[in-house]
């Protein structure tokens, strides 16, 4: 994701790929065709079909499923999913950027150790980590036990926190899951940033805020943009966290799609939701590209 087009100049040493290059790419292309293009094509074909007896998909050409998406019920859920994903992205950047910056400014050996800490959670299954959060947040869980034993609960807060199975728990879960996806790309950008540029900016009279705004952010933007994409896009579709930590009370678009295939016996409608969902991804990707390009252009214009 580092090479978001439009954010980096084209490589001047690039040569057109020869036959060899294509051969080396073949496994990847085959993988893409088999597991990305083909399923998307099936989804697209299904989305125009209709549901027959016993939930069998009848192919055809009907826009009915797309019309149904315009139902306020589903539009609201789309809206809410985007809201949750945006909040998650914002929190991930706010928490992840300083962390990444901190790691990038350590000595090389410390950088390695700290990065390892960021990646350690990936060694455990995502579901097990989510269950760990349930154990922490539940009413008689770790968090409330700590609050009670430290005296915070009767003195500062009137009652134990009731976090599990609330929207707050969903956001905590989402931020936790996706935080490394911001830290890693931002770290990669921040590590490459030449420290002398910061000194130069300071020597030329820029205050800390101005250095941050006009030097640090533009130079780490590729990392921030990549991190935002990596969080925002999958967060919209996440359904496991809303089920487990939100008590299945809050429906996100991922839950609705999941239900079409498992309960409502309506594959075509689920497929149509999936298609619209994919289009949303493409749109948000395009938006980020546009933002990045505009940033480059304003930078050049100065």
């Amino acid at each position: 994701m580092q090479g978001l087009p439009g954010t980096l100049p084209p490589n001047p040493h690039a040569r057109p790929a020869g036959a060899w290059g294509w051969w080396l790419l073949a496994p990847m292309l085959a993988w893409l065709a088999l597991f990305v293009v083909a399923p998307m094509a099936i989804l697209l074909v299904y989305s125009f079909g209709s549901r027959g007896a016993l939930g069998v998909v009848e192919l055809g050409f009907s826009l009915e499923n797309y019309e149904r998406i315009a139902d306020p019920i589903y539009l609201r859920i789309f809206g809410r999913s985007i809201g949750y994903a945006a909040l998650t992205t914002l929190l991930c950047v706010v928490i992840g950027f300083p962390a990444a910056w901190f790691i990038a400014r350590r000595s090389p050996e410390w950088r390695g150790r700290l990065l390892l800490l960021v990646m350690v959670p990936f060694w455990t299954s995502f579901l097990i980590r989510t269950y760990a959060w349930i154990a922490i947040l539940r009413s008689e869980g770790l968090l409330n036990a700590v609050l009670k034993s430290s005296g915070v609960v009767p003195h500062v807060l009137p009652a134990p926190l009731d976090l599990l199975y609330t929207p707050t728990a969903v956001v905590i879960g989402l931020v936790y899951v996706y935080l490394p996806f911001v830290i890693l790309p931002v770290y990669a950008s921040a590590e490459k940033l030449d420290g002398t540029l910061l000194e130069a900016a300071q020597d030329l009279g820029a205050g800390p805020l101005r250095v941050f705004r006009e030097v640090i952010v533009p130079l780490t933007w590729p990392g921030i943009a990549a991190g935002m994409m990596l969080v925002f896009v999958p967060a919209i579709g996440m359904f496991a966290v809303t089920d487990l930590m939100g008590g299945a009370r809050v429906s996100m678009i991922g839950n609705v799609i999941h239900n079409q295939f498992t309960r409502a016996l309506n594959f075509p409608f689920g497929a149509a939701l999936g298609v619209v969902f994919t289009l949303l991804f493409v749109l948000s990707y395009a938006l980020l590209l546009w933002l990045g390009r505009r940033r480059d252009e304003t930078a050049k214009a100065r």
Binding site: A53, G55, I73, E140, A248, V256, T262, A264
Partner: protein, 348 residues
């Protein structure tokens, strides 16, 4: 939840498939089993393979509708499925099941007659009962001292934020129909409109929806009451006698999970062998030990301990009559799902 079970079972079945594939030179064919997650003990599958040499490929689902959709949509051939009663009814009506050859089932006589010839399969031609259960209310009597007799008590204002319910639209809609005194298989537009405000009020008081393991939140004390599967309630009672099981006074329904052979099955012979194996008293007892639903096998019940038989969630006392679900068609399934989505969404 679903995902957890699926991953777990996927792992288990992979492990099982690999060990069997390597350990079994004298392979005598296979059995493609499509069943509920967390419903068939591994010991039973292993025992069957050890005895017959037949490899069991085990795939799972976590709702009857999911099973139906996958059975119909895929070219995959399952040899044995485990549909709930109303899904089996739809499959029978659409000619999707093969008749079961009772002459190949030496243990058929172990089944109790009250679980045979039920409305989903009046001639008992296509299905064999696996386990039976009710859906009822669990109360943590240490935390809830007032009496809870039915749905109205369960979802009363004073229990707001202390309730877990199964995440199953049809179950919840059924509870609402009972509360209004209507037939549970009548989802006419008028009835759908009538249950909507009832469900909306209930949903505002529910703490969480969980079909896979509603007992967990009750055990940990996150909630004090629940509308759960009888087998889950039975496990809670085994764990701690403070968890009382209540069959709602407004009405309760019973579900029968069945074994059936789909039309496109390849290993029909093996499917019969497996059914007959399950019907053995000592094998059926293993299932009851792990998943304490109501066992329809009379010979197996004789092997259960007095404690198991006294579990009110597995074997409700008295001879109360229960309703069963009928298949109502895809439009109803979809209308219920849409209402659930809308009501959950409207909550905040």
């Amino acid at each position: 939840m679903k995902t957890r079970n699926k991953l777990l079972l996927l792992g288990l079945s992979l492990l099982c498939a690999v060990t069997v594939a390597f350990g079994q030179a004298r392979k005598r064919g296979e059995l493609n089993l499509f069943a509920w997650s967390e419903y068939i003990p591994q010991a039973v599958l292993d025992g069957f393979t050890r005895e017959t040499g037949i490899r069991v490929n085990y795939e799972t689902y976590s709702s009857g509708e999911e099973m139906l959709a996958r059975l119909m949509a895929r070219r995959a051939r399952f040899d044995l499925i485990q549909p709930p009663d109303y899904i089996a009814e739809a499959l029978i009506k659409n000619g999707q099941l093969l008749p079961i050859d009772r002459s190949r089932l030496s243990n058929f006589g172990n089944l109790m007659p009250e679980f045979l010839n039920m409305p989903h399969d009046p001639e008992q031609q296509f299905t064999i009962p696996y386990m039976v259960g009710t859906v009822g209310i669990v109360v943590n009597t240490e935390r809830v001292t007032e009496p809870v007799r039915g749905y109205a008590d369960l979802f009363s204002e004073r229990h707001a934020g202390r309730i877990v319910v199964v995440d199953d639209g049809r179950e919840l809609a059924t509870a609402a129909l009972y509360t209004l005194g209507k037939s549970i298989n009548d989802f006419s537009p008028a009835n759908l409109a009538a249950i909507r405000p009832v469900l909306a009020e209930w949903f505002s008081r529910v703490k969480l929806f969980d079909s896979d393991s509603p007992k967990t939140a009750l055990l940990s004390g996150d909630v004090d009451l629940g509308l759960v599967w009888g087998g889950e309630a039975a496990l809670l009672w085994q764990e701690n006698k403070k968890f009382h099981y209540v069959l709602p006074e407004e009405g309760a329904h019973m579900f029968v999970d069945l074994l059936a052979i789909p039309r496109r099955a390849r290993n029909v012979e093996n499917a019969h062998l497996f059914i007959d194996y399950i019907l053995r008293p000592e094998v059926s007892k293993l299932i009851s030990d792990e998943f304490p639903y109501t066992n329809p096998n009379r010979a197996a019940r004789k092997l259960l301990s007095p404690e198991q038989l006294a579990n009110p969630a597995s074997y409700p006392p008295g001879d109360r009559k229960f309703d069963t679900f009928r298949y109502l068609g895809e439009d109803i399934a979809e209308a219920i799902d849409k209402m659930m989505t809308d009501l959950k969404n409207a909550r905040r």
